[in-house]
């Protein structure tokens, strides 16, 4: 028995050593830029979009390195960190990347629960942080961060847009005046969910809607049946939901089993945007559900400038070759674009200016270059422009030109339904009776 245990232990060590792979390449010539790429490779956030963000980031770094690096001569060394879907691990990994690996730039961060504590800590160390994904306003609000920048849209933009979308169709499709519309807001109780929910509520009240329930829950809760019961008691017409996964899967299962009926179901990014995962769990039942997210770049190639559209072709080609051949192009999650596009902005716009105009890639040079970024609408792969709020603004560092859009699942794929200027399909409202949440 003892020898069996020893053999098993040796086998395990060998397996781990074999799968660990070679160490990262050394910075041999002093002409390399070290970028710490921090996402969640394990834990619940991984499948809720974080891994897809990392894939996007890796692909754009590979793309630049194949062309000699930034400005064709400064190669990028990518050093990965795994936040493991835990805030304390994210902070430790950031410390490791910055102070042990000595990266020049820290980039990525999927979860707002990680970004909020992280941003202040990194900024205090006068290190440059480039947030590609986490959306909470609380990352910046009132903090006057000098070295933290986010090209991604913010949580208030998400929460306002989804309510404006419903407001635009209340009379026409839901056959009710806004003042008679009953809306409920549920959310995971971290900074991401709470941030979106707060702006949902503010916007709904601004439009005169009745907020009949607003309630948070823990993403780890093993049971949400009491929340479903409360929702049934509150009888909302529209349900706004912000969550990750598996919480949204659990909620939708229990909502269906407990007979929750609404006229529209609107999610906000994260788990709601992982269409392949939702379809695996619910099949065609996800038809006509909504999500809010920055636009996946492959859906708007005609509305963006040619060089941005060319990068989208590159992203799609690489994604299918390296990660997932089976997913149709339209269904590639927007998180892949967030990683790819938002890092492209750094590598193609900010870094070259920092090097050429401000003398290198120190945090001060990068921050100066970022403050000068001025990309007009249509200039990035996801359609938005880039200009960061400056000193004195409560959201200093946030991209003021970013915008999300509302998507709806139609015939198994996401269609853009709002704003009307980028619409690819008419929204289907209210939810038809064939939907498990539709009113019979």
């Amino acid at each position: 028995m003892r020898s069996l245990r020893v053999a098993l232990a040796l086998l395990l060590v060998a397996a781990v050593a074999f799968t660990a792979g070679p160490p990262p390449a050394a910075d041999a010539q002093g002409q390399t830029i070290k970028i710490g790429v921090l996402f969640d490779h394990s834990g619940p956030f991984s499948a809720a979009g974080s891994l897809n963000c990392w894939r996007g980031a890796k692909m754009i770094i590979d793309y630049f390195n194949e062309r000699g690096g930034v400005l064709g001569k400064y190669k990028i060394v990518q050093v990965d960190g795994d936040s493991q879907s835990k805030a304390e691990v994210a902070i430790n990994e950031a410390e490791r990347l910055l102070n042990v690996e000595k990266v020049d730039i820290l980039a990525g961060v999927y979860s707002s629960a990680h970004a909020v504590p992280l941003a202040e800590k990194v900024d205090r160390q006068k290190k440059f942080l480039w947030i590609t994904t986490a959306i909470s306003d609380a990352v910046f609000k009132g903090r006057n961060l000098e070295y933290t920048f986010r090209p991604q849209a913010s949580s208030s933009m998400f929460g306002e847009l989804s309510v404006q979308y419903i407001g635009a169709y209340t009379q026409d499709r839901l056959k009710k005046a806004p003042k008679d519309l009953r809306v409920a807001i549920i959310y995971e109780d971290g900074p991401y969910g709470a941030g979106v929910a707060a702006s949902n509520e503010t916007e709904a009240k601004k439009l005169g809607m009745q907020v009949v329930l607003k309630e948070g829950y823990s993403v780890q809760a093993p049971d949400l049946s009491s929340l479903v019961t409360k929702l049934r008691a509150a009888r909302p017409d529209v349900l706004f939901h912000t969550g990750y996964n598996p919480d949204i899967t659990l909620f939708l299962r229990q909502a269906k089993e407990q007979g929750l009926r609404v006229r529209a179901y609107v999610g906000h990014g994260a788990g709601h945007s992982q269409l392949d995962k939702l379809k695996e769990a619910f099949g065609k039942e996800v038809e006509f559900f909504h999500t809010v997210d920055p636009i996946a770049s492959q859906l708007i190639t005609k509305q963006v400038k040619p060089d941005a559209a060319k990068m989208t072709d590159e992203m799609v080609k690489r994604y299918q070759a390296q990660f997932d051949k089976a997913t149709p192009v339209a269904a590639i999650a927007p998180h892949v674009s967030m990683g790819f596009n938002n890092l492209w902005i750094l590598l193609d716009d900010v870094l070259p200016r920092a090097i050429q105009k401000h003398g290198g890639w120190s945090a001060d040079a990068l921050a100066k270059a970022a403050r000068e970024t001025d990309i007009p609408e249509g200039g990035t792969m996801q359609g938005y422009g880039v200009k960061f709020f400056g000193a004195g603004h409560p959201l200093r560092g946030q991209n003021e030109r970013a915008f999300p859009a509302v998507f709806q699942v139609q015939e198994g794929k996401f269609e853009l339904v709002y704003p009307k200027s980028v619409q690819t399909a008419n929204p289907v409202l209210p939810l038809p009776a064939s939907s498990p949440l539709g009113i019979r």
């Binding site: 834990g43 619940p44 809760a221 409360k230 598996p246 407990q258 695996e280 769990a281 619910f282």
Partner: protein, 288 residues
């Protein structure tokens, strides 16, 4: 004021949730009662059996009942393997070493599952009817799970009280040293106990598969609450764990409707802390 029908629905949902929690807690408590070791990784063994059910049913097209039986079988095998490979060498080690070993197993299982199956969530998709009784909506999956959980617990009770090896298990749980002095083989009792505990994990896996997605970190949702129920009921006390499971699930469910979802959990955890001060041995423990 909330309509009483919704309160009644919450109470029924609490009972249904309690059935599954009780099943999880009984398996863990049975092992603790006999071996005096807490298998921190218990719910992660459940997760492994859930993966087997998922692959057999969704990938290989097995009927759910057959997949469930295979899940129970895997639970038995895992229970024995964990005992032989990990528990046996540390049986007489200090409790902190035992906790570290089973905690290490937890991280190993989670990482290994991530390595093998990625972090994707996988669901056994079954079309089950929705039951409406007097304005209350009840989950068919939960009703089935509750019924089978109760059956499994009755089966465990009969096994422990009506069979020779069951009696031996109870005897070892009362006095580990005395059994060996009487010529009985404690190792055999330990292995059977681990197998039965593993089987309970397998039954729980089969029942949870039809209600939840499986993913490598599944244990994070059910692990802490299962452990708390065991402690609240009294570690090793089967009846206490059974009652504690329903107390916790009712507080979560009814408290969630009366106040808020978060508050339901806050009250349940606050009660746990208070009880640890008032009755550290569990709700059925005699006062010291």
């Amino acid at each position: 004021m909330i309509d009483p029908i919704f309160l009644a629905e919450a109470a029924v949902n609490g009972i249904l949730l309690g059935g599954v929690l009780a099943l999880l807690a009984l398996g863990l408590n049975l092992i603790f009662g006999v071996l005096d070791i807490v298998w921190i990784a218990y719910v992660d063994l459940v997760m492994l059996s859930m993966y087997l059910v998922y692959f057999l049913v969704m990938v290989y097209g097995w009927p759910i009942w057959l997949g469930a039986l295979a899940g129970v079988g895997l639970g038995v095998v895992l229970g024995v393997l964990v005992h032989v490979l990990i528990i046996t060498p540390i049986l007489d080690s200090p409790p902190i070493n035992q906790l570290l070993a089973t905690g290490g197993l937890l991280f190993f299982i989670q990482s290994f599952a991530t390595f093998l199956w990625t972090t994707d969530h996988r669901s056994v998709r079954l079309t089950l009817p929705i039951i409406e009784v007097g304005g209350m909506f009840l989950s068919f999956a939960r009703l089935v799970a509750f019924g089978l959980a109760i059956l499994a617990m009755v089966g465990l009770y009969l096994f422990l009280t009506r069979t020779y090896i069951g009696t031996a298990i109870r005897a070892v749980s009362q006095d580990r040293g005395a059994m060996a002095l009487m010529g009985a083989d404690p190792q055999r009792v330990y292995i059977v106990t681990s197998a039965v505990g593993g089987a309970m994990a397998g039954v729980a896996a089969a029942l949870l598969s039809i209600q939840y997605s499986v993913h490598p970190h599944f244990g994070a949702a059910f692990g802490p609450i299962t452990f708390m129920i065991c402690v609240l009921g009294g570690l090793g006390n089967m009846v206490g764990a059974f009652i504690a499971a329903f107390i916790m699930s009712e507080i979560i469910s009814v408290g969630g409707v009366l106040w808020s979802t978060e508050m339901g959990y806050v009250i349940a955890f606050a009660l746990f802390i208070v009880m640890m001060f008032a009755r550290p041995g569990g709700i059925l423990a005699r006062r010291q």
